[in-house]
């Protein structure tokens, strides 16, 4: 068992399960802030999944994608929070 095999067949399914659970809250979340929190969590799980893919495929360029996803997720969360606060 190599590191790549473990990353692909053991770690990735766990992250996929976590993504499905966060997506469930994104769908059922009773209020808009619940959905924003679920989206934020989905972004964090996405960063983890991209990191695991970077290990599994030995592709170091994916790391830049993870950093950019983190940046975009943060900006999106801040924009949603300002929108909610202005509506309050």
């Amino acid at each position: 068992m190599t590191v790549e095999w473990i990353a692909l067949w053991v770690i990735s399914p766990v992250l996929a399960l976590a993504m499905l659970l966060a997506l469930l809250r994104l769908l059922i979340g009773p209020s808009t802030p619940d959905r924003v929190v679920a989206l934020d969590l989905l972004g964090a799980i996405g960063i983890g999944a991209i990191g695991v893919a970077s290990v599994a495929m030995r592709e170091e360029a994916f790391l830049d994608v993870a950093i950019v996803v983190g940046l975009v997720g943060f900006l999106g969360t801040v924009a949603f929070a300002r929108y909610l606060e202005r509506q309050a």
Binding site: M1, T2, V3, I6, A7, V10, I11, V14, L15, L17, A18, M19, L20, L21, A22, L24, R25, S31, P33, D34, V36, V37, A38, D40, L41, A44, I45, I47, G48, G51, V52, S54, V55, E60, L63, D64, A66, I67, G70, L71, F74, T77, V78, F80, A81, R82, L84, E85, R86, Q87, A88
Partner: protein, 134 residues
């Protein structure tokens, strides 16, 4: 497998389990603020652990430094984002869990609060102490 590979696998496993824990928390917790208490810490720590595993298993030092920069960025931005969501949610009146025993913020904020940088025409002139335009 070398010792570095074992360390990388261990960090990846811890990170993935922390992210799963955050996802379980966001589904099971009864209230927005409890959900945020589950996600904001566990998700940044989980993604940080996974990026640290990438840094450990990287072949070049530049890749490892980029992964560490990603961890630092994550740890700087996650609390700011969580604070902004929590503030916006409290001010917009998201209901608290029925079993809440302590709400320290009740009555201690301006219920008519508006963002002072808003683009509304009548805005919040004459209210608040952080006025940039008068």
């Amino acid at each position: 497998m070398s010792a570095l590979d074992l360390l990388s696998v261990a960090l990846m496993t811890i990170g993935a389990l922390l992210l799963l824990l955050a996802a379980i928390g966001v589904v099971r917790m009864p209230d927005l603020f409890l959900r945020m208490s589950a996600t904001s810490k566990a998700s940044s720590l989980g993604a940080g652990c996974v990026l640290l595993a990438v840094a450990v298993s990287a072949e070049h030092a530049g890749v490892a430094w980029r992964a560490l920069a990603g961890v630092a960025f994550l740890f700087l931005t996650a609390p700011v984002a969580s604070h902004m969501i929590g503030r916006a949610a409290y001010l917009s009146g998201v209901p608290l869990f029925a079993g809440t025993v302590c709400d320290d913020l009740r009555g201690r904020y301006d219920a008519e609060h508006r963002l002072s940088s808003g683009d509304t025409p009548d805005g919040d002139a004459g209210r608040g102490d952080a006025e940039w335009t008068s």
